[in-house]
Symmetry: C2
Subunit: 83 residues, 2 copies
Amino acid sequence: MPLYMDIHRKVDGATAEAVADAHMKDLEVQSRYGVNYKKYWIEESSGTIFCLVEAPNKEAAERVHRIAHGLTADEIFEVTENS
Amino acid sequence: MPLYMDIHRKVDGATAEAVADAHMKDLEVQSRYGVNYKKYWIEESSGTIFCLVEAPNKEAAERVHRIAHGLTADEIFEVTENS
Protein backbone atom coordinates (compact mmCIF):
# COMPACT_ATOMS: atom_id res chain seq x y z
CA MET A 1 0.00 0.00 0.00
CA PRO A 2 1.36 3.48 -0.74
CA LEU A 3 3.03 5.34 2.11
CA TYR A 4 2.61 9.07 2.64
CA MET A 5 4.21 11.72 4.83
CA ASP A 6 2.11 14.80 5.44
CA ILE A 7 2.97 18.14 7.03
CA HIS A 8 0.68 20.35 9.06
CA ARG A 9 2.06 23.80 9.79
CA LYS A 10 1.25 26.48 12.36
CA VAL A 11 -1.43 24.38 14.01
CA ASP A 12 -2.93 26.37 16.88
CA GLY A 13 -2.72 24.56 20.19
CA ALA A 14 -0.61 21.69 18.86
CA THR A 15 0.23 20.35 22.30
CA ALA A 16 1.22 16.71 22.66
CA GLU A 17 -2.10 16.05 24.39
CA ALA A 18 -4.26 17.78 21.78
CA VAL A 19 -2.49 16.04 18.91
CA ALA A 20 -2.74 12.67 20.66
CA ASP A 21 -6.47 13.26 20.94
CA ALA A 22 -6.77 14.12 17.23
CA HIS A 23 -4.67 11.04 16.36
CA MET A 24 -7.03 8.83 18.37
CA LYS A 25 -9.88 10.20 16.28
CA ASP A 26 -7.97 9.26 13.11
CA LEU A 27 -7.55 5.73 14.44
CA GLU A 28 -11.28 5.44 15.15
CA VAL A 29 -12.22 6.47 11.62
CA GLN A 30 -9.43 5.11 9.43
CA SER A 31 -10.44 1.47 8.92
CA ARG A 32 -13.53 2.55 7.03
CA TYR A 33 -11.22 3.97 4.35
CA GLY A 34 -8.44 1.37 4.36
CA VAL A 35 -6.06 3.87 5.98
CA ASN A 36 -3.40 3.29 8.67
CA TYR A 37 -1.95 6.33 10.46
CA LYS A 38 1.30 4.82 11.75
CA LYS A 39 3.34 7.51 13.49
CA TYR A 40 3.50 11.24 13.94
CA TRP A 41 6.08 13.78 15.03
CA ILE A 42 5.32 17.13 16.66
CA GLU A 43 7.29 20.32 17.10
CA GLU A 44 5.07 22.11 19.59
CA SER A 45 6.91 25.44 19.41
CA SER A 46 6.08 25.98 15.73
CA GLY A 47 2.85 23.95 15.61
CA THR A 48 4.34 21.57 13.05
CA ILE A 49 3.10 18.00 12.74
CA PHE A 50 4.34 15.22 10.42
CA CYS A 51 2.08 12.19 9.95
CA LEU A 52 3.24 8.92 8.39
CA VAL A 53 0.32 7.02 6.92
CA GLU A 54 -0.40 4.04 4.71
CA ALA A 55 -3.39 4.64 2.47
CA PRO A 56 -4.78 3.50 -0.87
CA ASN A 57 -4.28 7.07 -2.14
CA LYS A 58 -3.71 10.65 -0.91
CA GLU A 59 -7.39 11.47 -0.95
CA ALA A 60 -8.22 8.62 1.45
CA ALA A 61 -5.54 9.77 3.90
CA GLU A 62 -6.86 13.34 3.75
CA ARG A 63 -10.46 12.19 4.08
CA VAL A 64 -9.69 10.48 7.40
CA HIS A 65 -8.17 13.68 8.83
CA ARG A 66 -11.12 15.72 7.57
CA ILE A 67 -13.78 13.44 8.97
CA ALA A 68 -11.97 12.63 12.22
CA HIS A 69 -11.11 16.18 13.34
CA GLY A 70 -11.05 18.52 10.34
CA LEU A 71 -7.33 19.31 10.52
CA THR A 72 -6.09 18.50 7.04
CA ALA A 73 -2.42 18.72 6.12
CA ASP A 74 -0.75 21.55 4.19
CA GLU A 75 1.25 19.12 2.07
CA ILE A 76 1.35 15.40 1.45
CA PHE A 77 4.11 13.37 -0.21
CA GLU A 78 4.12 9.79 -1.46
CA VAL A 79 7.29 8.33 0.00
CA THR A 80 9.42 5.24 0.34
CA GLU A 81 10.92 4.51 3.76
CA ASN A 82 14.56 3.62 4.26
CA SER A 83 16.97 3.20 7.14
CA MET B 1 18.94 12.97 23.00
CA PRO B 2 16.89 15.43 20.97
CA LEU B 3 15.16 14.11 17.86
CA TYR B 4 14.91 16.11 14.64
CA MET B 5 13.03 15.81 11.36
CA ASP B 6 14.55 17.65 8.45
CA ILE B 7 13.23 18.36 4.96
CA HIS B 8 15.23 18.64 1.75
CA ARG B 9 13.29 19.97 -1.21
CA LYS B 10 13.78 19.85 -4.96
CA VAL B 11 16.95 17.79 -4.68
CA ASP B 12 18.28 17.13 -8.17
CA GLY B 13 18.74 13.45 -8.90
CA ALA B 14 17.09 12.26 -5.68
CA THR B 15 16.82 8.67 -6.81
CA ALA B 16 16.58 5.95 -4.20
CA GLU B 17 20.10 4.86 -5.10
CA ALA B 18 21.66 8.33 -4.92
CA VAL B 19 20.01 9.08 -1.59
CA ALA B 20 21.04 5.70 -0.18
CA ASP B 21 24.60 6.57 -1.14
CA ALA B 22 24.39 9.97 0.58
CA HIS B 23 22.85 8.32 3.64
CA MET B 24 25.75 5.86 3.83
CA LYS B 25 28.11 8.82 3.88
CA ASP B 26 26.13 10.30 6.81
CA LEU B 27 26.52 7.01 8.66
CA GLU B 28 30.26 7.00 8.10
CA VAL B 29 30.68 10.50 9.52
CA GLN B 30 28.02 10.78 12.20
CA SER B 31 29.65 9.09 15.20
CA ARG B 32 32.30 11.80 15.34
CA TYR B 33 29.53 14.26 16.18
CA GLY B 34 27.31 12.10 18.40
CA VAL B 35 24.65 11.99 15.66
CA ASN B 36 22.42 9.09 14.60
CA TYR B 37 20.58 9.34 11.28
CA LYS B 38 17.79 6.81 11.88
CA LYS B 39 15.45 6.78 8.89
CA TYR B 40 14.61 8.73 5.80
CA TRP B 41 11.72 8.99 3.39
CA ILE B 42 11.98 9.99 -0.27
CA GLU B 43 9.48 11.26 -2.80
CA GLU B 44 11.53 10.91 -5.98
CA SER B 45 9.08 12.77 -8.24
CA SER B 46 9.47 16.05 -6.33
CA GLY B 47 13.00 15.50 -5.01
CA THR B 48 11.77 15.68 -1.41
CA ILE B 49 13.63 13.92 1.40
CA PHE B 50 12.74 13.72 5.10
CA CYS B 51 15.47 12.61 7.51
CA LEU B 52 14.82 11.55 11.11
CA VAL B 53 17.92 12.05 13.23
CA GLU B 54 18.98 11.99 16.87
CA ALA B 55 21.59 14.62 17.59
CA PRO B 56 22.87 16.70 20.48
CA ASN B 57 21.59 19.79 18.64
CA LYS B 58 20.47 20.98 15.18
CA GLU B 59 23.91 22.22 14.27
CA ALA B 60 25.49 18.79 14.81
CA ALA B 61 22.85 17.15 12.58
CA GLU B 62 23.47 19.74 9.85
CA ARG B 63 27.24 19.44 10.19
CA VAL B 64 27.09 15.72 9.41
CA HIS B 65 25.11 16.34 6.20
CA ARG B 66 27.50 19.12 5.20
CA ILE B 67 30.67 17.13 5.79
CA ALA B 68 29.33 13.82 4.46
CA HIS B 69 27.91 15.02 1.13
CA GLY B 70 27.15 18.73 1.29
CA LEU B 71 23.37 18.38 0.90
CA THR B 72 22.02 20.29 3.87
CA ALA B 73 18.31 20.45 4.64
CA ASP B 74 15.98 23.35 3.87
CA GLU B 75 14.29 23.08 7.26
CA ILE B 76 14.84 21.20 10.49
CA PHE B 77 12.38 20.68 13.34
CA GLU B 78 12.93 19.39 16.87
CA VAL B 79 10.23 16.78 17.32
CA THR B 80 8.75 14.20 19.62
CA GLU B 81 7.74 10.87 18.11
CA ASN B 82 4.40 9.24 18.79
CA SER B 83 2.39 6.33 17.47
